[in-house]
Amino acid sequence: MENDFILKVENLWVRLDNQNIIENLSFQVKKGDVVTILGPNGAGKTVLLKALLGFLPYKGEIKWKSGIKIGYVPQRLPFIKDIPLSVNDFFKLKKSSEKETKEILDSVGFKEDFLKKKIGDLSSGQFQRILIAWALIRNPQVLLFDEPTTGIDISGEETVYNLLARLKQERDLTMLLITHDLSVVYKFSTDVICLNKHLICYGPPQEVLTLESLRELFGEEVKYYQHKHY
C-alpha cells in the first residue's frame, strides 16, 4: 500500500502577498488515481498546482514519490501569436525529436501534417490537445492539468475528457486536474478535493459531494443538480 503513493501533502500552507491562499491542506494521491480539484474562482486551485510543481514557496510538506516525472498543462498561454511558431517548433522547445513529436501527436489524434501548422492558427480545442501532447513528452507518470476547457469538442467525437481517459489507460497515468465541471468530477475522478482556501471535502465524489458540502464550497446560491447518468 505504501509503495503505491505518488504524492503526499501534509499541512500545506501557501501565503502570497501577505494573504493566506491555502490553509492547512492535507491529501494523498495513489498510483492510477484521478484526483479532481473543485472550487470557486479564487479558491486557490491554480496556486495549489503551482505549489505542487514547486513554483511557489509554501509551508508544510509536499512529498512526491522519488524519481517521479510530472507533466503539466497550464491554464492558458498568452502571447503565442507574437512569433511564427510551428507545432514542430513548439515541441523542439522541449527538445523533442521529430519522430517523438509525430508519435505523440498521433496519440492525441493529430496527423503528421500538423507539424507545420502555426500554433497561432490553431483553435482553442486543438491547442489544448497540443498542450496535452507537449506535457506527455518524455513519458511522465503524473499529469497536472489546470482547468481543461469544458464543453469543447476537440476532435468532433472525442472530448478532452474522453481523450484524458484514453491516455490514462494507454499510459498508466495518475492525474490531478482542476475543474469547474461537476459532471467531470462524477464521471472521471476517483477522488475529489473541494477547496476554498481550506479543505471542505475530500474523498470519492459519490460519497463526499453532498448538498451541504457544495453549498459550503460555492456559497448558498449553488444550483445543485443530481447526476443521474454516471
Binding site: 510543481l53 514547486g54 513554483f55 507574437d82 511564427p84 517548433d89 523542439k92 522547445l93 527538445k95 507545420k116
Partner: protein, 254 residues
Amino acid sequence: MGNQLLLSLTAGIFIGGVAGYLGSLMLSKRMALVAGPLGHLTLPGIALALLYDFNVSLGAFPFVILGIVLIWLFEIRTKLPIEALTAIVFASGVAITFLFLPIEQAETALVGDISRVTFWETVISVIVALFLFLVLKKIYSEMVLINISEDLAKSEGISVKKYNLVYLVLIAIIVALGVKMVGGLLTAALVAIPASAARNISGKLAHYTFGAMIIGAVSSSLGILLAELSEFPAGPLIILVNALIFLISIIFKR
C-alpha cells in the same frame, strides 16, 4: 576612404545582424519598445563620451544598466506598468543630456556616427557581436519558452529569473552597440524592425530568427552604402532601409 567604408560596413553588418537576432526575442516578449527608451537613456552617457572624447558605446552602457535597474526597482515598488516607468526614466535621461551636451555635438548623439568608426572600435564591435550571438543562440529556446509561459518554462526546470537577467544584460549591450551605429533616438528600430519584417514572411521559428538577422545585416550595410553615396548620415538611412524592407514584407505577408 575605401578602408573607412570597409570598417563601417563590417561593424554595421555585425551590429545590425545581432540586433535583428535579439530583436526576434524582444518582439515575442513585447519588449521591442523598451529598447527605444533605453536608447534615449544612453544619451547622458553618449554626451559624457563626446565631451571627454571616449567611445560612445562605453559611455552608453553604464547608463542603460542604471536605467534598467531603476525601472526594475520602481516596478517592484510601485507596480506601475513597465512602459510608464520606462517613459519616466528615459525622459529624464534625455532632459539631463540637453542640459550639458553642446548642441553642435548633438547629431552624433542622436543619429550615430558609424561612418567614422575606427579600426579598434570595429574589432571590438565584431567581437562583442559574436559573443552576443553565441549567448543568444544558447539561451534562445529557453527564452522563447519563457516568453510563451513562465510556468511552462519552470515546469521544464528553467530558472526564469536567471535567464531574464542574462536577457536584460544582452539588451543593454546591444543598445550600447546600437547607439554607436544609429544614435540614441533610433536604437529601438534597429531591434524592432528586422524582427517585425521577418515575422511577416515566416511560417516557422528558424526562418523568423534567421530572417531577422539577415534583414538587420542587409539594411545596415545598405544604409551605410547609401550614406557614402549621399550627404545624409548613415543612422537614419539604415533605419529607412529597414522600414522599406518592412513595407516590402507586408506585400509578401503569410
